[in-house]
Assembly symmetry: C2
Homo-oligomer: 335 residues x 2
């Protein structure tokens, strides 16, 4: 906190290629004043997500982020003062506060969160990451016991949970991740049956060895070459849950899509389905009950990657896009 000022990070320019620190600037803004229907929030933890980068391309499931405005981003925040019924000082909320210390946000854009410890779980396993993994795997991927599930960006916030839920459901689980350390972590700590290091050469062959009976469900966080490597290994009636396309976010858009679309989709009768977690929120209570039970019983391990200080947020996002995080990355603001 810094008295009457509000430190903010602006996106000063939309990147045309790779995102770098030069695209951001920190300024001392004015302390916001909540209007009627709004709450003044103190931001506690900012969520970092590959989707932050996609928002810079243009409209996605939300409007594009624009140059010279506060960088958008979800966060867990505490209500300081409120001009909205239903919100009171001390309440914990989730919403798009942007990258800043304080924000005045309409109550209708905020979700009141339970008070639980550690609070960071509201961004990881009990937040968007956990719910995305839960609904994407179970409602879109629809794995059956004994099937083979492959997940990319497997050491990330969503992928690490997807793989563990698939294990809970009795599937053979293969994670694709970058680097031998992450791969070892997936198999030795999280219980994945196998891991494929995409930085270590031929993904296609390594997948063939790890999934000798073919792939029934592919949870796709990355698109591009890895999607292309999975397609010919899908079993008939396989499901591809399209969660994201990280490989396409940071840099120029790829020239073309994956080979095998639509030819392999036809002959293998595949379903390739995109989803966004918001569409499943009406069922979030059921999902949270399952996730809480699995965490409590130790079946689901929570991995968080917490960076200190608002000023480090740009670097934290750039690092996430390069795959340096393990589990859910977030930035903790000074309290």
């Amino acid at each position: 906190m810094s008295g009457n000022t509000n430190r903010q990070i602006l996106l000063v320019e939309k990147p045309s290629g790779k995102l770098g620190p030069e695209h951001f600037k920190m300024i001392d803004g004015a302390m916001p004043e909540p209007k009627d229907g709004e709450a003044l929030l103190r931001v506690r933890y900012i969520s970092l997500d590959a989707a932050n980068r996609a928002w810079m391309h243009g409209a996605t499931y939300r409007s594009a982020v624009e140059a010279n405005s506060v960088m958008a981003g979800g966060a867990i925040a505490e209500v300081v003062s409120s001009k909205a019924p239903g919100l009171a000082p001390g309440d914990i909320v989730f919403g798009d506060t942007g990258w800043q210390e304080f924000a005045a946000v309409p109550a209708k854009h905020l979700t009141k969160m339970p008070k639980l410890e550690p609070m960071t779980h509201l961004l990881s396993v009990f937040g968007i990451a956990g719910l995305t993994a839960y609904f994407g795997l179970l409602e879109v991927g629809k794995p059956k016991e004994g099937e083979t599930v492959v997940v990319s960006a497997a050491a990330g916030s969503v992928g690490s949970i997807v793989g563990q839920i698939a294990k809970i459901k009795g599937c053979r689980v293969i994670g694709i991740a970058g680097g031998a350390d992450k791969c070892r972590w997936l198999t030795s700590e999280l219980g994945f049956d196998a891991a494929v290091d995409y930085k270590d050469g031929a993904v296609f062959k390594a997948l063939r060895a790890a999934a000798p009976k073919g792939i029934d469900v592919y949870f796709d966080n990355v698109g591009g070459d890895i999607l292309e490597a999975c397609l010919p290994q899908m079993n008939n009636y396989g499901r591809i849950a399209c969660c994201g396309a990280i490989s396409q976010y940071d840099g120029a858009p790829a020239a073309h899509g994956p080979r095998g679309v639509p030819g392999l989709i036809v002959v293998k009768r595949l379903v390739m389905q995109g989803f966004i977690v918001m569409d499943y929120m009406k069922d979030s209570q059921r999902a949270l009950a399952d996730l809480q039970a699995w965490v409590k019983s130790g079946k689901l391990k929570v991995q968080e990657d917490i960076i200190d200080g608002l000023e480090n947020t740009p670097k934290a996002l750039i690092g996430l896009l390069a795959g340096e995080n393990r589990g859910k990355r977030m930035v903790k603001l000074a309290t």
Copy 2:
């Protein structure tokens, strides 16, 4: 008929590029002898399908066709003699007889057909083409009244029926076809709301004009550039029924897939689903009842493109791959 000989067309070489007459040869084979469980068939009408070309690439939903064997193909045939219970001389069956005058086929690979006039409808509207259109549109595409449906290869055997069923279901229907004549036919004879001539330049722009409210269902027979042009125009929660990829069949495989996969699949929450009509055969009675009622009432017009003579079968397939047919193409054998 030619006494004790059986004229046959062999695939003498698998094409690596475009299919040509040089890949086929007609020979006088021996009259086949049915074994126990088989029927001797006289072939009446051979079905020509884009899938015939795909079978030359390798295994699809059936094993690949091999060089120096009788070219595979579905047909309507008449039982001459039978060593199988349940089949008697004069029965009409559908099965893969291959491109020849007579064939001995195991009864378990044959489907007994009703005797109706004209018999050719068993290959078009009441055959694989009609059932493919019916199930692909209604079970995979799931159009709702008032939605916009786009179908490619719209003047073909499947596409022409897809568009008409979509009209029956109260949708706005746009067909994509090659050439002004076909396009005029779709709108003036078959009741399509609009048609886009893909040979006449920018498909993307023409589609935008024809589907100003976006596309809810795209029935894809072709893949490639046309799929790529449809993707950005899909509405949220749109469905792409992947029926075939004609653009990929005749020539070297395309280097890459369509741009927008998987990025647009995610943000628009699209479902892209491949299907093969065989998977829906348990419901064929319901489908045939609907199709028969629509034909009888004049809501569904049947277009057939009948070529005379076994010797013209290669040319007929090559022409079909070049898009010269209108409606269901088949070859009538001398009786």
